[in-house]
Symmetry: C2
Subunit: 368 residues, 2 copies
Amino acid sequence: MSRIWNFSAGPATLPEAVLQQAQAELLDWHGVGAGIMEMSHRGKYFTEVIQTAEADLRELLAIPQNYKVLFLQGGATLQFSAVPMNLLNGRSADYVATGAWSKKAHQEAGRIGKARLAGSTEAQGQPADGFIRLPRQDELNLDPQAAYLHVCTNETIHGVEFLDEAHLPQTPANIPVVADMSSHILSRPMEVSRYGIIYAGAQKNVGPSGLTLVIVREDLLGHAGANVPRLLDYKVQVENDSMLNTPTTFSIYLAGLVFKWLKAQGGLARIAEINQEKAALLYAAIDNSQGFYQNPVASECRSLMNIPFRLPSVEQEAEFVRASEAAGFMGLKGHKSVGGIRASLYNAMPLAGVAALVKFMREFAAKG
Amino acid sequence: MSRIWNFSAGPATLPEAVLQQAQAELLDWHGVGAGIMEMSHRGKYFTEVIQTAEADLRELLAIPQNYKVLFLQGGATLQFSAVPMNLLNGRSADYVATGAWSKKAHQEAGRIGKARLAGSTEAQGQPADGFIRLPRQDELNLDPQAAYLHVCTNETIHGVEFLDEAHLPQTPANIPVVADMSSHILSRPMEVSRYGIIYAGAQKNVGPSGLTLVIVREDLLGHAGANVPRLLDYKVQVENDSMLNTPTTFSIYLAGLVFKWLKAQGGLARIAEINQEKAALLYAAIDNSQGFYQNPVASECRSLMNIPFRLPSVEQEAEFVRASEAAGFMGLKGHKSVGGIRASLYNAMPLAGVAALVKFMREFAAKG
């Protein structure tokens, strides 16, 4: 077996050591005689798995005690609905659009209740890929009565990232920031206390698709309306330890292995250094290509995780994808809504993979 | 490695051959150089996986062409909400309670809109385990204007099953029957055309937890209200081939392997014969135990999948669980809400496992 360099935006490459352990334990977890995916979620074995996963996640992100951790289903998209169902309660919420996902979150919230667009960096008159920067504070039109302010802290399609909490919009202390961190959670230390709610689909930096992490501050529990499905009510899920119904047990187990792997790498401070090194290598290859490769995102918010770039023509982009696959790379085709190329450099992508990609890009440009 | 006999109600034992294939392919699916759980859900490889899974499921259940198949998330519990969100549209629905799960489905629907209890076999003055039969047609109080009639065709906790479609409540042709089949889907041929919607959490007879199957008749699409989350709108999911967002890819892959395994066993007609043989063996052991083991469910609706039984005392039940685990069995403890013992005989449990359990029960009773 030979593993390829998989730059898929998600579901994405997972640490090989994690997969090897899951493989070894698939039919027989810890000598019990059954796989973890075959066991009751309420039994002692899985209870140990989910509690260890939560403890390790809390340690990695230094999650304060007044935050609850939930292991849910439905992806970030179900949270687009669950967040307003839990927090709006007849009020209005503010959304900041910095890419396709925050725009979608705003649209979905509008189905549940009142959701204002407090700011957007979508370039006027541009195609759908016209998100290349963060908004300045003076561009935001914030509602001082908003139930919350929603951001997507890393835009997977457009490659626009809030690189630290200092870049977040400034809001009054009484307005919680709700963040979709799907595509960069665990990529660096996060200042959890700056957020009211953090949510993330697992299929980039955490584990298999189908698992969704929600980290919610305690004072934001208990505000869901009477007609909200119990499964989507954070308070009910907290009271049931994420097990109002059967959780996605195998995905939680695998996420737990990823958390152990992250700790073994040295934790998020070390992971952040590696991620910076990887992204710097790829951005340098783009910026030093005499314009053959182009990434339009402003330097202060260029994503370390998802790096989209264009070639001089769509024909060359198609050829780049074809040639990259022939050369043993996977997942470099850009999102269908924007075209081009995209390389996702999640935690599980080693520096050697990025180096191999950069070498391929240099050779491709020389031929092109 | 030695596999034990796992009678867990779900997540439940999976076919060993399926797990072995998943194990072999975990890091490298079909020589591609990456596992299926690491690949884009929109790429050619996973597209092949989900399309093959759907085709095999359609073949196994002989699903008519005017039914759509969806691979969703959130378990049956999310469908408790999604069904009324998609079908009520200001109207009322009828629910028949034959156990804990149909009762819960009714309660959850009441959060979304109007849900009537058209019938219940919960014994008056009994404890919570007082479901032991199906309702007679003349006990039902059906609303001729109901948006749908909901049933749970196999009650996992109480062991009450609609053993064929002839046992279903008779409804006017314009009132679709909606069935939660979580714990017996694929256990026998089903007459799909008798239902408007079939849904099922995967973690019993289909695959890992986190996947939910929905089979919906085309004329029931497009009736969701404007404030229903798009992710929960069946029509939107049909239009997006179950991929409005990232589906639970690994679980779908594994379900696909289970479908292939079912076909290799001879399809659902053959599976039904085996399931009847397995259940007959266990019910005979209970009924021929001179009252040491007791199952109170009426014979015409005794579940072939989930067989709860009691011992003379709770102390003996606790000792039974302890001794069974020492003897290499797993998952025999009854649901916490009703106590006692429960053996789940899903498709993946071989006859040899039931024979081993029956032998253990005989020896335990002789000692007791």
